[in-house]
């Protein structure tokens, strides 16, 4: 999550004050990502240093200072929107590692490890879903943010389901052949 680019996006709509940016950021992200004021000013300071925004004038009190996006900032923003967010790296998730490791450990039921996580994920999903219940009062930004979280959690549950099914089939199936396993190298794609 790039606060830097989110602030640039808000400033591309017109000049704004720091406090205003914070409030709009929280509104636009459905209040799912609280942002503290300090973080807003630190980020604005860096954006200014990099020439992506400029302050109205050098007002002593930063709260009185309005910020506007520069032409460089517009370019940076367009590049950000045009770049797919990082999603291509191989799975390094702690959960994935835990399940893979659990498979080899004597006395550990992988199925139990999976179910403990599945239950926890579904409980989290129940809480997120509750937020959507009152449709009449559901703000669009919040609904979208909640959906994003639900799809993310669901994908983990689906992986757990698939992992369980795969292990079940392999334990029923023929014993694995004793041929050496080809070494598969997963490496983060350099961009």
């Amino acid at each position: 999550m790039s606060v830097r680019h989110a602030l640039l996006a808000l400033l591309s709509e017109g000049p704004k004050y720091g406090l205003q940016l914070r409030q709009e950021f929280e509104e636009r992200t459905g209040d799912v990502w609280p942002l503290n004021v300090g973080q807003v000013y630190t980020t604005l300071g860096r954006l200014e240093r990099d020439g992506l925004v400029e302050a109205d004038d050098a007002h002593e009190d930063e709260r009185q200072r309005g910020y506007r996006i520069t032409a460089e900032g517009e370019k940076e923003l367009a590049a950000w929107f045009g770049t797919p967010s990082e999603a291509g790296s191989p799975p390094r998730d702690e959960l994935v590692i835990k399940v893979l490791v659990a498979m080899g450990v004597p006395g550990v039921e992988v199925g139990d490890v999976i179910q403990i996580h599945r239950r926890h994920l579904v409980e989290l999903m129940q809480q997120w879903t509750r937020i959507k219940e009152d449709e009449g009062r559901l703000d669009l930004a919040l609904a979208l943010a909640v959906d994003a979280e639900l799809f993310r959690l669901e994908s983990v549950v689906r992986w757990l389901d698939a992992a369980e099914g795969r292990m079940k089939r392999s334990s029923l199936g023929p014993a694995p052949a004793a041929t050496p396993r080809p070494r598969l190298r997963l490496r983060a794609r350099s961009r």
């Binding site: 999550m1 606060v3 989110a6 992200t29 209040d31 799912v32 990502w33 609280p34 942002l35 973080q39 179910q115 599945r118 239950r119 994920l121 579904v122 409980e123 989290l124 999903m125 129940q126 809480q127 997120w128 879903t129 509750r130 937020i131 959507k132 219940e133 449709e135 639900l150 799809f151 959690l153 669901e154 549950v157 689906r158 389901d161 369980e164 099914g165």
Partner: protein, 240 residues
């Protein structure tokens, strides 16, 4: 009083070597207002559990109680009557009768139960209107979209006095928005006082339920705790 109780319900299909233990030792209770989800992979016994809960099939052993009435020992006719009055069943493939309009599909079970045709149609129209289908009442199933057909199926399952809703993968092949719409309807029905059991392999659908139980190889192996309020999620203050 529980609308549905299952005690140590077991179902065996087939005999000898080809015997399948589809569900075993199921204990379950659903009260008015409850929305229960049963989550499990394909072949885990979800449909079997639901058909037994809906008295469409008899368990090999164990007891099922619907509306306080013990099913074992009831005649087929009594069971059918109880089912028509109390239980609404939503099948995975909707199961609408193709030769009947949306309205007739919904009013038919009432008429079978002895409600006068005019009254049955009024109730059916009200149920369809509730689900936003007022303009589709005269359409036949093949003139409706998948989502609309599903809504007709839910209207049929909740029409009249029926207060136990059983749904088998109710969003079948629907997209996620329609799946959500289906669960909203089921939840709304539960908030009005119905009790519902939804079986599904889909975690997003299941997460609409107050309680999720997990089924594996015919056994209920785990269930969610009552979740804390959603506010706790938003106040964790996770770094953006």
């Amino acid at each position: 009083m529980a609308l549905l109780e299952m005690h140590r319900v077991t179902k065996v299909y087939g005999e000898g070597a080809s015997q399948v233990l589809a569900v075993r030792d199921i204990d379950l209770s659903v009260a008015a207002g409850d929305l229960l989800a049963v989550m499990g992979p394909s072949g885990s016994g979800k449909s079997t559990l639901l058909t037994i809960a809906g008295s469409l099939e008899d368990p090999t052993s164990g007891e099922v109680v619907i509306d306080g009435q013990l099913l074992s020992g009831m005649s087929r006719n009594d069971k059918a009557r109880l089912r028509r009055r109390s239980v609404g069943y939503v099948f995975q493939d909707f199961n609408l009768l193709p030769g009947l309009t949306a309205l007739e599909n919904v009013s038919l079970p009432l008429e079978l139960d002895g409600v006068r045709a005019r009254r049955a149609r009024e109730l059916a129209a009200a149920a369809l209107e509730e689900l936003g289908l007022d303009e589709r009442v005269a359409h036949f199933p093949d003139e409706l979209s998948g989502g609309e057909r599903q809504r007709v199926a839910i209207a049929r399952a909740t029409v009249g006095e029926r207060h136990l809703l059983l749904a088998d993968e109710p969003s079948g092949a629907l997209d996620s928005a329609s799946g959500e719409a289906v669960m909203r309807m089921v939840l709304a029905a539960c908030r009005r006082g119905l009790g519902a059991v939804v079986v599904t392999h889909n975690a997003q659908l299941a997460s609409w339920a107050d309680r999720v139980v997990f089924i594996r190889d015919g056994r209920l192996v785990d269930q969610t705790a009552i979740p804390p309020s959603p506010e706790s999620l938003l106040q964790q203050g996770s770094e953006p």
